[in-house]
Symmetry: C2
Subunit: 151 residues, 2 copies
Amino acid sequence: MEKRLERIKKHLHSQSYKLTPQREATVRVLLEHEEDHLSAEDVYLLVKEKSPEIGLATVYRTLELLAELKIVDKINFGDGVSRFDLRQEGAAHFHHHLVCIECGAVDEIQEDLLGDVEEVVERDWNFKIKDHRLTFHGICHRCHENENTED
Amino acid sequence: MEKRLERIKKHLHSQSYKLTPQREATVRVLLEHEEDHLSAEDVYLLVKEKSPEIGLATVYRTLELLAELKIVDKINFGDGVSRFDLRQEGAAHFHHHLVCIECGAVDEIQEDLLGDVEEVVERDWNFKIKDHRLTFHGICHRCHENENTED
DNA sequence: AATTAAATAATAATCATTATCGATTGACAC
DNA sequence: GTGTCAATCGATAATGATTATTATTTAATT
């Protein structure tokens, strides 16, 4: 984790931004909750546990900065809040999501899946793809299993 | 267009909702701007042109109702507002979008594209897909052409 | 130590959306 | 026709996420 933090620090420096204590605390929370899909408020509350003096606006600014530098991705599942997801290091593209309409769980798919599709889109629509968002809504394997036993 | 309106009316009735004048005016605006991706406020202003007495809350309520009945899809391109898109009649799935990061244009892809991908996801992740959202961010064919001439 | 720009905390402001509530409408019973 | 009831509506207040403001703090540089 320290290594990733170090690389993020270098990434910030390369754009003449500093890794202030507040920014470091925020990045640490993101690293510690990589599996989750935290809202800005979620991040704020978690950062506050270790750095109680931090302000909400600072967390927003930090997340915005990290999104700008493509260190995190800002995503939106239609529930009114933006969520922030660390991008996998070296990942060419943003990972995909499975949102369960029963329990609300959000799982990730790191695999590419879209290679062929992107080729078609670039060629047939003459569209130069820079990024993508792919989310499936449906019933996750956990709810699926429960249904079988409960019914 | 009258036919589609008629079918939407039946769809509402089948769920014991009425096609009130306000709802009809709202649906007409959506039908007349099928190519666009209107926000609730956009819809409100357009409906107001022909039905000045309509209230903003009614438009919100109507759009919410239409989304519930899967007549429109509520989408979010990350700019802080929800947008509403009529679903193609008979379309099994929601269409995809191409968002240009230069000019902001949003184009639609009606083709399926995801058939193979969904098969893999359902099998390998044991996830029952009900809907999907696929958006590509990049440079549209118009901006692409302009770049070639302007540079 | 003085100067300066970047970053911060606290909080006010904004903006999209939702909730509230009294008024209106339309269907149906009488 | 009139009364009743539920659905719907318009106006507007309330909410909640996000952004802007501003005075203060920090860190780097002179």
